[in-house]
Subunit: 337 residues, 2 copies
């Protein structure tokens, strides 16, 4: 971690002070972080393991709303990265953090942010290894480089699918996209519990860290759903050199999403294309169906078969409605709100 | 690498297009990057090696000037991270990149930035492993997480110095700080070559990657000079539980810096405290002087003895002038311009 002296020692809490107060405690449990006192972290990778490295950045106003709670922002930042590790079949190991913060950011924001990171570090078993903290005249800009471990050669690829594979997804789809409409006030959900569920899934996605590593040797291709179910299935199919069929009627919806879609069936498109789900989408040979069911039981996470890969134009996705007729969706993916 | 579908396919070059055109070629030589097509990079760490991980971020208007050439910004971003690896005694291995860019950033900027990264990747033998590319309403914000390799247990610490150690520095000190004054127009340097030298050292620091790994087993404590020579010596001394003496008259200055300081001796303080030098500052037992000289010869980089560690208040630095009298400096370090 590069550190810089704050010439204005009279300022309440300079970079050194912020690092000491908020970030050093997050690195305390990880010897390789060297107490954030060195120029870099140093740690080993166990024999027979490979390192899996992923990066995700979030910008206020683009990836989260400026009014979102700092704890939620911290949780989402870590979780989208943990979701990428899970999609690779990797176990969480360590992460580095970059914060670019406006000088007038209230210190309570930083305190909440660090608290959120600390809670999720414990929850998911990942340690802060190092980072950099700089100031910006722009919006809060955050990034995490997350490192995981996987037995050598066993990382799950996007492009390992074959025609005939069944396609599965964890959890439920569409909650975050509908939750975003709730947050923006464009979707009115009267039921308080349903409303809280959709918003909660938007703000605190649940990375499937218990599922991903169990899919090693079971799944043929895997990724996490961030762009939208249809777009991400297209990515998986394209990298696998296959076409794909998605049976919309089999896509798992939460009770809250189901109620909203039943009210207005046009909202199914939002669920299928809205993104930010952070569920695992994977293909597996049909003879692995029992193994997939066993993974679901062990991890305590629902896994639903929703389609198949087939020979055809690489990356083409056909979405079928409940009656088996092709469904035309208005958009395949989304850009940032 | 998380990727997101750009709904506005009509836009000239979305995130996918930018990644394909500018970043995929940078990852082409590194199998672990998986062509940036997966959720994460996957690579091994050779037996007996440890991973050294460092992070540095740069924000336009804070760490570089908005008008700086994109190639120079790329070079500086990589080099400040390579300097951290060198300070740990590590060899460069791979890096991840986060770019947060304004939507109206000219594409030539990105092209120049990628060109600068490519040139320095080849120069220093480091590969792009993955990254994320997002948009921002704020200034260009960049960060690199650089990974290096070091034989297990041999990383150079900041805190390994002992009283009696000699203190050494590579290259020359003060060029970047004086170059910044040239860039700002507050220092007038008539000689074109001297001017170019100072500006070049500001914009393209030379990470001492040839020196750092050779200091394993030779240096006791090491860091790179980013905050300023005096402040960074204080860091090294503090982590080592020692006081330090710096002999200002022995600090190596380039011919350009020497001329500027001779014109106005008050500028010596700028050189000693200005920072952004990215030279290696280290301590070694006095019986290692010959080994240090051998490292300098092998690496082809000047290394100069400039002081010593001694028993005393941890982190206290006494700066002596040429006559051996204590020198009072107006500032020990700097914050960002």
């Amino acid at each position: 971690m590069a550190r810089r002296t704050d010439a204005a020692a009279a300022r309440p809490l300079g970079e050194f002070g912020r690092i000491a107060r908020y970030f050093k405690p997050l690195a305390a449990g990880f010897a390789g972080a060297r107490g954030l006192a060195d120029d870099a972290a140093v740690f080993g990778v166990p024999d027979g393991r490979e390192l899996v490295v992923t990066v995700d950045a979030m910008v206020a106003g683009v990836h989260f709303l400026p009014g979102d709670a700092a704890e939620d922002v911290a949780a989402k930042l870590l979780r989208v990265n943990l979701s990428d590790l899970a999609a690779m079949g990797a176990e969480p190991y360590a992460y580095t953090l970059v914060t670019a913060l406006p000088k007038d950011l209230p210190e309570e924001w930083l305190a909440g942010f660090a608290r959120g990171l600390g809670e999720d570090q414990r929850r998911y078993g990942i340690a802060l290894a190092g980072g950099d903290s700089v100031s910006t005249a722009g919006p809060v800009t955050l990034s995490v480089t997350a490192m995981g471990l996987v037995p050598a050669g066993q990382a799950l690829p996007r492009g390992g699918g074959r025609p005939g594979d069944a396609v599965f997804v964890t959890g439920s789809i569409g909650d975050a996209a509908l939750g975003l409409q709730v947050a923006f006030g464009t979707l009115d959900v009267a039921d308080a519990e349903a409303r809280a569920h959709l918003l909660g899934r938007l703000r605190r996605p649940e990375p499937r860290t218990g599922v991903g590593p169990r899919l090693r040797g079971v799944a043929a291709a895997c990724l996490d759903v961030s762009d939208g179910l249809v777009a991400d299935l297209a990515h998986l199919a394209e990298e696998s050199g296959c076409a794909a069929v998605l049976e919309a009627g089999r896509v798992p919806l939460s009770a809250a999403a189901r109620a909203v879609v039943d009210d207005d069936p046009a909202r199914l498109a939002t669920a299928l294309t809205g993104g930010d789900d952070y569920e695992l989408l994977f293909s597996a040979p049909v003879e692995h169906r029992d193994a997939v069911a066993a993974v679901a039981a062990e991890a305590g996470v629902a896994i639903t078969e929703i389609g198949r890969l087939e020979a055809g134009e690489a990356g083409r996705v056909t979405v079928l409605d409940g009656a088996g007729a092709p469904l035309d969706l208005p958009a395949r993916g989304w850009t940032h709100f």
